[in-house]
Symmetry: D2
Subunit: 404 residues, 4 copies
């Protein structure tokens, strides 16, 4: 047998098996390997030192869950051809391929005018060319244009394998064990009914637990105030660098690719020609640059950069009501006086904003329960539901961030 | 109470508690924070994608185990003062502070003439100055000059908390569950007898298991042939870069600090004045530089660098007998012809060497068993020992590495 | 040192340490050892085959958590004397000492007129006599009469170590991983304020998760319909046996102690004189008797008993509305015809009832959150609470159980 | 679809799936359900309180591993038909069906003249009759007469799924985490070569770890001196009961089935007619009887029985040399004087013996390694083997057991 068969150790699932040559080729491609150098959780490791896992690892994990999900659905009689299986697996493997350095934090900041999902699509199409059209079906599933809707819902939906993997993996690597979601049980309860992905009645409690675990992960980890402070600092660091650059200052930058996007790139509706350059960047370009900016003469750029490399973060306060202009202004004034900065400069070191998360929004999210009698209901509508209408409103927290 | 008390989540141990202001200050120091950017296992993540944890995380873990070990010994009547406890904890916290980028792989290559333990000592002394002598006792324990020998043995010995943490942590993050060592049971069995660290009789099987697990981790992970191939490639990449530099070529380098050590630094017996610069480097400087070298015109530097960033590694063979000159030469010839290189160049892409590991060497290692009747014996001498004399000889494997 | 120190392996917590001679003596007492033979989860193992752990193991686990809780509270400045610590640990160690065979299922059935907590108190006092009054303080804490209220709240309250252990242990042994509650984080967040046990503000999400996990464990495990069917069958089996006995039939019973409580014991307000006999019973008396009744000539007793020993359970239906008399009657009629029974007999094999559980009832439960500004609020009253007023109403499910 | 599909939660493997009606019927049979009441580890729970899992759970686990093993072998090109798969699964499911109460301890004691594997075969044949010959192939595989030898080797051999499950499960339930064997990796490395089961070359370290873990489990758990003391006490309790019975004394016994085997049964070469009675017994008959004997007038029977129910065990010493007759006699003398017993009686309470275990015996055990070049070698013959010739000799420990 000329069969490909590679087994990858994964602390979360034990083993991940790669058994198709096309999957192997995709994984071996430099664009995919680049994901080794993009952290899944950006600056969360400043709070949870174990959370240094990568987007490569996450997407391999999601690929593994896709295999389990498909196998479960087939056991329940849903027809999925080998081609569809392969395509769905490739779609999830590549769902994050368009992420840039410190993805969520820097999105729309470093690369203006282009969303990471557009970049993903561009890269998918580029790879499709390279692989002679073998990714056609994967792209259809990714975009949601394929007629078997449930395959797209597995890639991107309320109970998709992306979420299942990142919640499982992030809770594993942070050590926040309450974030554990019981992905295996939910997978066992998935079912396709009238072409749509649903869960069986007996999964109700597991799905409730899933939503509550997600809520907990948001507030305890993803929107942890220290993590948010670091991400906001990074955004402001890039802002400041671009401002200084615009003023004609030639800042040191660790790589030509990052230098291009920081200093030259203008959105022009034709991102395709910058794609190769984009794919040369990852978290190391940013971090290696921040280390140099930490010694730079501009006090704003220096403080922010050193703050990130040395974990000397701005102080951040959370509360349920917005901070008033006066409150923000007071902090800014302090900064101006202490560091002898003007107000524009002080704004980089004292600012306010909001963080929000919605536990479950039945308006645009749909976790459908299939009852034994074939009735279908949204999880927010079942008797004695824990997940209720009032959860549709996002929970907001307001923050004030300032120099210590 | 003005008590410091910080709880850090750790997926391996649950929680790590920091409860002394000096420990907090050390952890907050930029030299320590730098360890966030040095991977504990260098290129092992090319085989085990989960193994991306950092030296910061490892040293926090070892610090945690030190606390447990001290508490166990105290429960058994060994006197350890609060100052000694603090010092031992600081010694282990800082035991890896002198590691540079891709530590084991690049040691003695990037910084010639200085060993990482010398650098650790220099940094410890520098920090001691900064902290007004508060690290005196920690340094004594670190160096092994303190009269309570067992404290040094906990930092660096056959059953030290360094090994216990790295074996536990590395097996956790790689997912190689057979590497699990049962650190908690061994800790419970530690005992101090006549000033030396030993284990109680009933720990024999656990210690055997520990040694076998370590043996397994070496051959399955640390000396995994793919990992070894990557490390050897990195060494040769640096060699080639230094050769090209010596030939007057000005290679791009991501940071001034790395540029200094690659291009200018000469061992001069006074490393202290370069320490600050040394501490600006970490894995990101190397990786960000490799990405640029991957596009460089020199085919040797280009292939090696791209090989590391894109995981297109040299092929590697392991066997129990050395490869002959003829075998190596044959591979070199192939490379010369395929890439039109001269022999010196081809040597970078086809070479041989050896990897070795000793399971237990009673000549210089000592795991002492304390029997109930107060008899002390080396573990290799107990009845029915699994760990025998013949294990004193190192197991060697010979490799041949060459372009695919 | 004449110190007692025994380490017990526990798969849930790693190690449990016994380090006081009085605790050791209590554990060694036959009344405590009897708990080895009472399953923690009665018939849950018919659904979850791993759930065969014992009340002895659970109470050792709760004892372990009590130690951790006390140590945390002390670290936060709450004064707890060594005597109080010992007493609190003993109180929790013995909190289940009064359980009889198949405790929850058979309570108030086998021993009429006496509640298991009364029996616990009687046994505690008996042991206190034996140990020369050394259990005085433990009894005060157990009963809630000791002035440091929080100690009783740790034994029996909304966040007591009893619940923390049984939820952790039951989810561990059933393999229902979503039931995991993160006991370690909650313990770290406990605090005593104005003499009462509370949790710190940052524990809100963990406590929410705890309540949701408990809710899940109730419906997925404790009130799993198959488990409920088995428990109801056991109750009816005992009913039938007592009815036959009352009719003068001399049923075989595996032990004299069980024979006494089945055939002779009458509630007389003086249970103390039966205590020794009571403590001779455990799950094996019941199971060994059921095996004999399975061959007995009475078809009702035979079917019920064999159903339990051979896992041929009655069929059970759950729904949100009560079953009507007509529905129950129909099933009963079927049984009467099939087995040629009279209606009274058929009632044992076809019956209805209800199972209920309350997620969080702020009326009588109190999980208090201590905010940073020293404000105290019930968890149901914090902003954006998941745990709301409407959860005060118990969730009820109605069942209909009948011969297949 | 009339498909059977039942998912069972297992804390060790997550989920076990039953997907064939015949397997379901076998599991539902009272003979199989009886295994719920036989502890896998007999008295090990006296030392490891978590180790109360049952033979039913173990055999379900082994069945699960058989499915994984077969699926791996098929992936590697070994042909295994669906009928063979089903038969191999049934063979392992029923491999322990012949165990009686406190199996290993009481074997050849309670049922004299018949080995538990003979009883297993008898029961297999009885079930085969009941199921109309559907177990024919399973019986062939069980007995080792089927031409595909590797299927029998999976049921019973050096790397069979029975061992893999019991080592995994026993280490899980005892909490002796060093016993963990990495079953999943070994399963991935299984291969069939020339009709025999082997492991691939790269599994060498895992198999070494497996053997060392097994060695550890033997000495730390199965042959733990306290466990051995309890088992020897049980044997002597039965001996004494049979002696008293032979002397005409009518001891109380909890069940008619146990009474028959204790008092009446004589080996007569026709065990088949006692099979039904045999299958009525389990651990509860013994335990419920011991509780009654604990109050019996005979001091030997009383002490031994109470010792087991109340965990007041005989004292046991282990050493590497046999105890001399004089040493044993001295202890016996003490007992005679203290309890005013004659020598024959004292022998029950003071006796010596031996416990032994062989790490790896290449003479009759064969773990074969398949090298990449198709060479096959026994694991004890590979280069640098940890598992050596000298391990062929059993390790013996000698014990002396006596009243405290």
């Amino acid at each position: 047998m000329a069969q490909v068969r590679k087994i990858i150790n994964d602390p979360v699932y034990g083993f991940i098996t790669i058994d198709h040559p096309l999957v192997m080729e995709i994984i071996s491609h430099p664009y995919y390997q680049r994901l080794r150098r993009i952290h899944q959780m950006a600056f969360a490791s400043l709070v949870y030192p174990g959370a240094v896992h990568t987007r490569l690892h996450h997407s391999l994990g999601a690929y593994h869950l896709m295999g389990l999900a498909i196998s479960e659905l087939r056991n329940k009689g849903t027809e999925i051809t080998p081609d569809e299986e392969l395509a769905a697996k490739i779609a999830i493997l590549l769902h994050d391929i368009g992420h840039g350095p410190y993805s969520h934090a820097l999105e729309r900041k470093l690369i203006r005018g282009v969303h990471h999902e557009e970049i993903s699509t561009l890269i998918l199409e580029l790879l499709n060319d390279k692989f002679g059209g073998e990714l056609d079906l994967a792209i259809e599933i990714f975009k949601g244009t394929y007629h078997k809707k449930f395959l797209h819902q597995l890639v991107s939906g309320q109970l998709d394998v992306d979420r299942m993997d990142y919640l499982s993996r992030d809770s594993f690597y942070t050590g926040v064990s309450e974030g554990v979601i019981g992905y295996d049980r939910i997978l066992k309860m998935l079912v396709v009914h009238e072409g749509e992905l649903m869960v069986e009645e007996k999964a109700i409690y597991s799905v409730e637990k899933f939503l509550v675990a997600r809520r907990l992960m948001y507030w305890q980890v993803y929107l942890h105030k220290t993590v948010v402070a670091a991400e906001k600092m990074l955004v402001r660091t890039i802002d400041r660098a671009q401002e200084l650059t615009a003023a004609g200052i030639d800042l040191p930058v660790a790589s030509p690719a990052l230098a291009f996007f920081l200093k030259e790139h203008q959105p022009d509706g034709n991102f395709l020609r910058h794609l190769e350059k984009f794919c040369q960047m990852d978290d190391t370009d940013i971090m290696c640059t921040l280390k140099q900016w930490g010694y730079y003469i501009d006090p704003v750029l220096g403080r922010l950069s050193r703050g990130l490399t040395d974990r000397r973060l701005l102080k951040i306060h959370y509360r349920n009501q917005p901070f008033t202009d006066a409150e923000v202004q007071e902090k800014r004034q302090e900064v101006m006086e202490r560091l002898r900065l003007n107000e524009a400069e002080a704004t980089y070191l004292a600012f306010a904003g909001e963080a929000k998360n919605t536990t479950y929004n039945p308006a645009n999210e749909h976790i459908r329960i299939l009852f034994k009698n074939n009735r279908v209901a949204d999880i927010s509508e079942v008797d004695n539901a824990l997940i209720m209408q009032h959860m549709a409103a996002p929970v907001k927290k307001y923050y004030l961030c300032h120099l210590r």
